[in-house]
């Protein structure tokens, strides 16, 4: 893993206390990830989202296998707006982003702009709502495709 300061410099940011994590504006995300990818030895491991009171906090976790010593995670974070959460897609940078972005859209309802095929991946297609949002109501009667309501013993 490379020194956090080197990565921050490449991204044009000043290193902060937590040296393995950088926050960027939504519009800056593709450029930041593109810069990191061009440095080599990065794998896009994961995209995850947290529903925070101030908005949706998204994290792109990259595995840094370059430099000296052990490999480590470098995280790029974006805070997406609560009312209309949108961030640019990075599918053009890493193909792994396809399924990961679809998961975040399905479960957290964050839209990824500039890509095709952003559809549900784990919930069924006619599912309403995004279950990992904090305001999602879990106590709903079980409904099954085909109309049976609360069926079962």
């Amino acid at each position: 893993m490379r020194d956090g300061a080197v990565l921050f410099k490449a991204l044009g940011c000043t290193p902060r206390e937590k040296e393995r994590e950088v926050a960027v504006a939504p519009g800056e995300l593709p450029r930041a990830l593109f810069t990191l990818k061009n440095m080599g030895n990065f794998i896009l491991l994961d995209i995850d989202a947290t529903d925070r009171p101030e908005g949706f906090e998204l994290a792109w976790r990259l595995l840094d296998t370059g430099g000296e010593g052990p490999a480590g995670i470098f995280t790029v974070k974006v805070l997406a707006d609560r009312s209309d959460p949108r961030v640019p897609s990075v599918m053009g940078i890493w193909k792994a982003a396809d399924v990961l972005e679809r998961e975040v859209w399905d479960l957290m309802g964050v839209r990824f702009d500039g890509r095709d095929g952003l559809k549900r991946i784990l919930c069924r297609d006619d599912f309403e709502g995004h279950p990992l949002r904090k305001d999602f109501v879990v106590e709903q009667p079980a409904r099954f495709p085909g109309g049976a309501e609360g069926a079962g013993p």
């Binding site: 794998i43 491991l45 994961d46 480590g72 193909k95 399924v99 784990l122 279950p131």
Partner: protein, 379 residues
């Protein structure tokens, strides 16, 4: 009508019209290893396009985590990758320990290696068994599964459960070694070695098996990295990346083991690398049993344990690749958010690009060689 006239008459027809059609492989199909569905467009028997349809096993475990305490959630982790329960436990325990700054006794670290590597062996044996049965080698399946039974007996002796174990817990492991465990392990590993030799003699050199797997479903190293593939699937296309060696946790830095790498990237190499990894795991179990120190096996946490506000991401080398747990704490006894980065979910992302051009039988071999577990894909 004589033959010549018949042929000339056939010659007058327009070429047969063909059209593409759709085939749903799964969700209920023996070769999909669970409830995975591939929506295939076919031209004859050749795949034109492939779409992954998943989610049939989605249980909303990430949402469930938000209403369970940190300790209560631990048993759920074995339900992600249900073929590698102890490794799931371990990843989650690492994330909780990172979040709360919990120390793990040294004896527990060795016990984790023992449980984790036994689990890896059991998981790889299922891969070998199900791959050969998908290619119609039913006898081979029996050999790998009987070998796995011996390993599951050990895991049961350790934890009380064959598959859904909660052995590795935050702060250590749930129990110390049972009586005569070393002897039992020695017997079981001897049995495993001999079974694996039989299995190799039976399957690996088999001409039909080779012709159905060599050069089939080749994944290039660049393609694998682009799709975020990890684990044995990545290591079989020439990239030596193993969290146990490259971002070591626990006592792995003290262990002497190799990370096998193959370069073909085809189904046969993805099959072979599992056998090589089983042999390395055997080495690790034997070393850990030989070098285990005495002492406590668990740092006890209070029932109402609360981590400080913050977040943690921890990753381990699971049987299928890098498994990462992300935990967010708001200072209460329950996680604010829990997220699993599951290797199988990311690994199947390559299929839509890999499948076109393959025949159905090659697709079945390729899917089997990727070794997916739907429990961790759908979560």
């Amino acid at each position: 009508m004589n033959d010549g006239a018949f042929l000339s008459e056939v010659g007058d027809f327009d070429p047969l019209e063909t059209e593409e059609y759709t085939l749903n492989l799964g969700p209920q199909h023996p070769s999909t290893h669970g409830v995975y569905r591939a929506r295939l467009r076919l031209n004859g028997e050749t795949i034109v396009s492939c779409e992954n349809v998943i989610g049939y096993l989605h249980r909303g475990i990430e949402k469930l985590a938000e209403s369970r305490t940190y300790a209560q959630f631990a048993p759920y982790t074995a339900r992600f990758d249900y073929l590698a329960g102890a490794l799931n436990n371990w990843g989650y325990a690492l994330a909780v320990e990172k979040l709360g700054g919990i120390e793990v006794p040294e004896r527990a670290e060795y016990l984790r290696v023992i449980a984790g590597e036994l689990q890896r062996i059991a998981s790889h044996l299922v891969m070998l068994a199900s791959m050969v049965i998908d290619l119609n080698a039913v006898t081979g399946w029996m050999y790998a599964f009987t070998a796995r039974e011996g390993i599951l007996d050990l895991l049961e002796a350790l934890s009380g459960s064959r598959m859904m174990l909660t052995y590795v817990v935050a702060g250590g492991v749930s129990a110390d070694l049972p009586e005569e465990f070393e002897l039992k392990t020695k017997t079981a590993l001897e049995g495993l070695r001999s079974r694996l030799d039989d299995f190799q003699a039976l399957v690996s050199g088999n001409e039909i098996f080779q012709s159905r797997t060599r050069g089939i479903g080749v994944i290039e190293s660049g393609q694998a990295l682009e799709y975020g593939m990890t684990g044995p699937n990545l290591r079989s296309c020439g990239i030596r990346l193993d969290m146990r060696r490259d971002a070591p946790y626990g006592v792995y830095p003290r262990m002497d083991f190799d990370v096998p790498v193959l370069h073909g990237g085809d189904c046969f190499d993805r099959y072979s690398i599992r056998i090589l990894e089983i042999l390395q795991s055997v080495r690790l179990v034997e070393q850990a049993l030989g070098g285990i120190p005495s002492g406590p096996v668990r740092t006890k946490l209070k029932r109402t344990w609360r981590p400080p506000v913050g977040e943690a991401f921890a990753q381990i080398e699971s049987a299928r690749g890098i498994q990462g747990y992300h935990l967010v704490s708001d200072g209460t006894d329950k996680p604010y958010r829990m997220h699993l980065r599951s290797p199988s979910f990311v690994n199947i992302g390559v299929l839509p690009e890999l499948a076109p051009g393959l025949t159905i039988q090659d697709f079945v071999a390729t899917l089997a060689s990727l070794d997916i577990v739907l429990g961790e894909i759908d979560r």
